[in-house]
């Protein structure tokens, strides 16, 4: 199959490589040509624009940073709409605002192009191991045609609902993981400040009702003081901005997420933006007088 892929960063690169390894031919475009380097060994063609990618592939994946990037790649100058024929499908796997996804979907539909929002959870490790969780919004019949490709990239694929619904699910995911990491960092800092070994606390809690993957994985990394990303704090800050803007638009109170969003603001302001979100622990330690 001829498949377009735009956005070959930490997440996009391993995802695109998985698609190539099972025999699909890739059509690529990248702002920075250096990101095309890992694709010299596989069946892939580099193009001069997103429009050219769309001219050669009926299905185009995008995996970029934020809504303006998706909009630019899809609808901007030299964008997908300039090259795509009728029946083309754009699958956006970036994390953007649900409202932005719906808007882009509507504008593409006006040009006869189908759109799915399909953000992922699982981070770089999930992308490399083809173990992503994929949350999809869009028409069921379009979802069915793309499902075999999703199954190459992830191990859990769910059609959540109409256009934008995938991004709503991702926003829920980011509330749970953001608040979860903050709660864990607070618990560990509380234990430490009380003179108790956080490792034993974790061990005890693992068997109880507070068990979670965050306690297990993020907790272990906090104990190891391994703050390498993982998932960078500035990206979680961005995702919570999307969540809070959506809440503002809806007139919806999210008090815990709001407090957590401010913690991420503090982390980025404190220079921890490039570290994993578990560096939240460092911020709390600093503010507890034991940096």
């Amino acid at each position: 199959m001829e498949i377009g892929f735009i956005g070959l960063g930490l997440m996009g690169r391993p995802m695109a490589l998985h698609l190539a390894r099972v025999g699909h031919r890739l059509h690529l475009w990248a702002r920075r040509p250096a990101t095309l380097e890992p694709f010299r060994e596989v069946n892939a063609h580099a193009h001069v624009s997103a429009a050219e990618v769309a001219r050669h592939a009926k299905i185009v994946f995008t995996m970029v940073a934020d809504a303006p990037d998706v909009e630019q790649v899809c609808l901007g100058e030299g964008g997908i709409t300039e090259g795509a024929g009728p029946g083309a499908v754009v699958v956006d796997m970036s994390t953007i605002a649900p409202a932005a996804a719906r808007d882009i979907g509507v504008r593409l539909a006006a040009r006869g192009i189908e759109f799915l929002d399909a953000p992922v959870s699982g981070g770089e490790v999930g992308a490399i191991n083809a173990a992503l969780t994929i949350m999809v919004g869009g028409k069921p019949e379009v979802y069915e045609t793309i499902l075999p490709l999703f199954e190459i990239l992830g191990k859990s694929v769910t059609l959540i609902g109409d256009s934008g619904a995938g991004q709503v699910a991702k926003a829920c995911n980011q509330i749970l993981t953001g608040v979860g990491v903050a709660a864990l960092a607070e618990a560990f800092n509380f234990a430490r400040k009380s003179g108790v070994d956080a490792a034993r606390v974790r061990e005890a809690l693992m068997g109880g009702f507070a068990y979670s993957k965050i306690l297990e994985n993020h907790g272990q990394r906090m104990l190891d003081r391994n703050f390498r990303p993982g998932f960078k704090s500035w990206m979680h800050q961005k995702d919570l901005r999307i969540v809070m803007e959506e809440a503002h638009r809806l007139g919806l109170m999210l008090p815990s997420a709001a407090a957590t969003a401010q913690m991420f603001n503090a982390m980025v302001g404190f220079g921890l933006g490039e570290e994993d979100s578990i560096a939240m622990l460092k911020l709390l330690e600093t503010m507890s007088g034991q940096a």
């Binding site: 809070m244 007139g251 919806l252 109170m253 999210l254 709001a258 969003a261 603001n265 982390m267």
Partner: protein, 289 residues
């Protein structure tokens, strides 16, 4: 001076009238023509669009709701851009984001037009009595030309800094004020939940270190259960959207403001956006069986 005024709502109307009565020629435009009536009766000249206002006036005030309104009036179809002669001045007294303001000022500068951001505090009452607090961002020489006009409208005029600085001051103003309204609401709620007369608590507290203007005005409205708008809560909700976006952009944590924003979100969801922000008390009551 030949002045323009766009945005004749609860705030803009009395402000425009003041300028007119001080002897200036006033050119006005409003999206809803019925808004023009009172001004035209008082001697202002109605225009067909913002461009016509700008073509007739040396300095144009805008006093509207949101970022998109100001941008549209300035640079949209029939906007000020199409009427201003070089050397014109755009004074925006709306409350919008500092970032949008800086961008607008930049676009004006490229065309030889000066801009001031001059948001106000004090509400309708202060607009009526010309007692507004005016917070100005922009160049000192532009302010020097506009200052006599500001003095017609307000009691204090502070030059805060360059373009956008007035909006930063206004954002700070909103943060301090609405957080105080929320604190007042929580105190009134605690008193009531404890079975204590809230108005007596208010009287006692007013005399001490916690006494404040917000406590006096909003505490008074809460105990009187007068939720008719002074300033509509939806406008504070809008301002907190600006505030939290700036917090994120600057990576500057505002934990209390973030919580106040959530209470305002709840207020909107409960359908009280058109009421006074004293309704923050009702949000707390709604969570109490």
């Amino acid at each position: 001076m030949r002045l323009g005024f766009i945005g004749l709502g609860a705030m803009g109307q009395p402000m425009a009238l003041r300028l007119l009565r001080a002897g200036h020629s006033l050119f006005v435009w409003a999206r809803r023509p019925e808004r023009l009536q009172a001004l035209i009766e008082a001697g202002a000249l109605g225009c067909r669009n913002p461009a016509e206002v700008a073509a007739s006036a040396e300095l144009v005030f805008t006093m509207v709701t949101a970022d998109a309104d100001v941008t549209g009036i300035a640079f949209g179809p029939g906007g000020l851009l199409h009427g201003f002669a070089p050397g014109g001045i755009h004074v925006d007294m709306s409350t919008i984001s500092p970032q949008t303001t800086r961008r607008l000022a930049q676009r004006w500068a490229e065309r030889g037009i000066a801009m001031l951001d001059a948001p106000v505090s004090g509400g309708v009452e202060a607009a009526n009595s010309a007692k507004l607090a005016i917070m100005v961002g922009g160049e000192a020489r532009t302010l020097a030309r506009a200052r006599p006009l500001f003095e017609i409208l307000g009691a204090t005029v502070v030059h805060v800094g360059g373009n956008g600085a007035g909006q930063v001051a206004k954002a700070c103003n909103q943060m301090v004020m609405v957080a105080a309204i929320e604190a007042c609401a929580e105190a009134m709620r605690l008193a009531a939940a404890s079975g204590v007369a809230a108005e007596r608590v208010l009287r006692a507290v007013m005399a001490g270190a916690a006494g404040s203007r917000v406590l006096e005005v909003f505490g008074g409205r809460m105990t009187a259960r007068d939720f008719a708008a002074g300033v509509e809560a939806r406008l504070h909700h809008k301002d907190f959207g600006i505030l939290m976006a700036e917090a994120q952009r600057l990576a500057c944590p505002l934990p209390v403001a973030a919580q106040v924003a959530q209470q305002l979100d709840a207020l909107m969801a409960l359908g009280w956006g058109g009421e006074d922000s004293a309704s923050l008390l009702k949000v707390l009551e709604a969570a109490h069986a």
